[in-house]
């Protein structure tokens, strides 16, 4: 007689493959879950009702132009990225980020073209959240920020510090509308490369709030490890 594999045998296989420790990635303290869920729902509505229709029209702009806009924004984050690499004692990255800024701002015409990448100097963004993480600070707790989206106490503090220390802000002193336009264009342009992915994931997850929380934590952990 052949017996079906016992549950114990299958358990051994499961234990072998997935240790409990490895099963716990993507976890984060979430004391404000109720509030976060509300903000998440509001952000989701904003995305579906406002951002998504705008993005769909915006996609009429030819892709090369949208890539250049994306390059332009990326380039402006390079100085802060370089500072952060320095704070993480990552000298090679600090110098490559600042070289990228120099090359792309000049030869790349104000950052519109990522010439540095073609020269083999690859982008490796660092922000203050990552710096704090590399110094050993944990997330603290999960935080969904209105409009801006997924964050944590640590990463949002880092973001605030980052904009305070961003040299761009001392060069450019925009009116509120100008600043809003600038930020919105960045978001819209980014999303224009991909319109429906967010909603597809949202729909495939039974609890999208938890799904994206886990994805956020994993993504940040990976960014800090590098």
């Amino acid at each position: 007689m052949f017996a079906a594999p016992t549950l114990q045998a299958q358990d051994a296989e499961a234990d072998f493959f997935f240790s409990d420790e490895e099963m716990l990635d993507g976890e984060i303290a979430d004391p404000f879950e109720r509030l976060n869920r509300i903000t998440f729902a509001v952000n989701d509505k904003l995305y579906r009702l406002l951002l998504s229709p705008v993005v769909k029209t915006y996609r009429l702009i030819p892709e090369p132009l949208r890539v250049s806009i994306s390059n332009f924004y990326d380039n402006l984050t390079a100085p802060v990225s370089s500072i952060n690499a320095l704070l993480q004692f990552d000298l090679p990255n600090a110098s490559s980020e600042i070289s990228r800024f120099g090359i792309n701002s000049t030869i790349g015409i104000l950052g519109l073209f990522d010439v540095a990448n073609q020269m083999g100097i690859e982008r490796d963004r660092e922000d203050f959240g990552q710096t704090l993480g590399s110094w050993g600070f944990g997330h603290g707790f999960y935080l969904i920020v209105p409009v801006l989206g997924f964050s944590s106490f640590r990463d949002f503090s880092g973001r605030a510090a980052g904009s305070f220390l961003n040299p761009n802000n001392y060069v450019w002193d925009p009116e509120v509308e100008e600043w809003l336009f600038y930020q919105t264009l960045d978001e819209v342009n980014d999303f224009s490369f991909d319109v429906d992915t967010y909603t597809a994931f949202y729909d495939s997850a039974l609890d999208p709030y938890v799904f994206f929380r886990s994805a956020y934590v994993q993504n940040r952990a990976g960014a800090i490890d590098q």
Partner: protein
């Protein structure tokens, strides 16, 4: 919100997975050979002028089912809770979850534009392996790793990790929180409803 943008590569990665079972058995031999050959096969299909999602769906469905390892995917999606499932529940979960994944991702086949894929390397610790690949899009390079498991008849994918985000970990967090809050039966109720909605 930018983290969402890299998620689209799950879809691309999933598309790439389809090539697996279209290729010959010998191509499952080592993890990186499998990935490399499947990249070739899949890109051929996607770049064919007569590629049509609707008419190719049944064939693609069959191919996907052969390429992945639904049992390991189910174990991974449930984590420690897998032990609390009866044999019947395990089988049902395996079926439902795998078909939800397929339905979700096959709908997205049209998201392929002109990305290129390269296999960078592999690390093997039997029965597990990771194959590292890079997806080059018009404005970025995205790191996509495949987790494979060795079975008697070759290597099969059980997870896709895009920019350090594991697809299975993300689902696992979701299921764990539902089980913790409402129990296993509640999870099944929700999954059955979801699967019915997709058909």
């Amino acid at each position: 919100m930018k983290v969402i943008l890299s998620f689209r590569n799950f879809f691309l990665a999933f598309i790439v997975g389809i090539g697996f079972s279209l290729s010959a058995m010998a191509q499952y031999e080592t993890p990186s050979i499998t990935v490399q050959s499947m990249l070739d096969v899949v890109l051929d299909i996607l770049r064919a002028p007569d590629f049509d999602i609707e008419s190719d769906k049944a064939q693609i469905d069959m191919a996907v089912s052969g390429a992945f390892d639904p049992n390991t995917i189910a174990q991974s999606a449930l984590g420690a809770s897998y032990r609390d499932f009866s044999r019947e529940q395990r089988a049902e979960f395996e079926d439902i979850f795998f078909s939800i994944l397929k339905d979700t991702y096959l709908e997205r086949l049209d998201s392929y534009t002109d990305e290129t894929f390269e296999v960078l390397g592999e690390s093997i610790e039997p029965p597990r392996a990771t194959v590292e690949t890079m997806v080059n899009t018009t404005n970025s390079q995205i790191k996509v790793n495949y987790s494979l498991r060795q079975r008697d008849n070759g290597w099969f994918i059980y997870d896709i990790i895009v920019e350090d985000v594991s697809l299975l970990s993300s689902y696992r967090s979701t299921y764990r929180s539902i089980i913790r809050r409402d129990g296993i039966e509640a999870l099944f109720e929700e999954l059955r409803t979801q699967a019915a909605g997709l058909e």
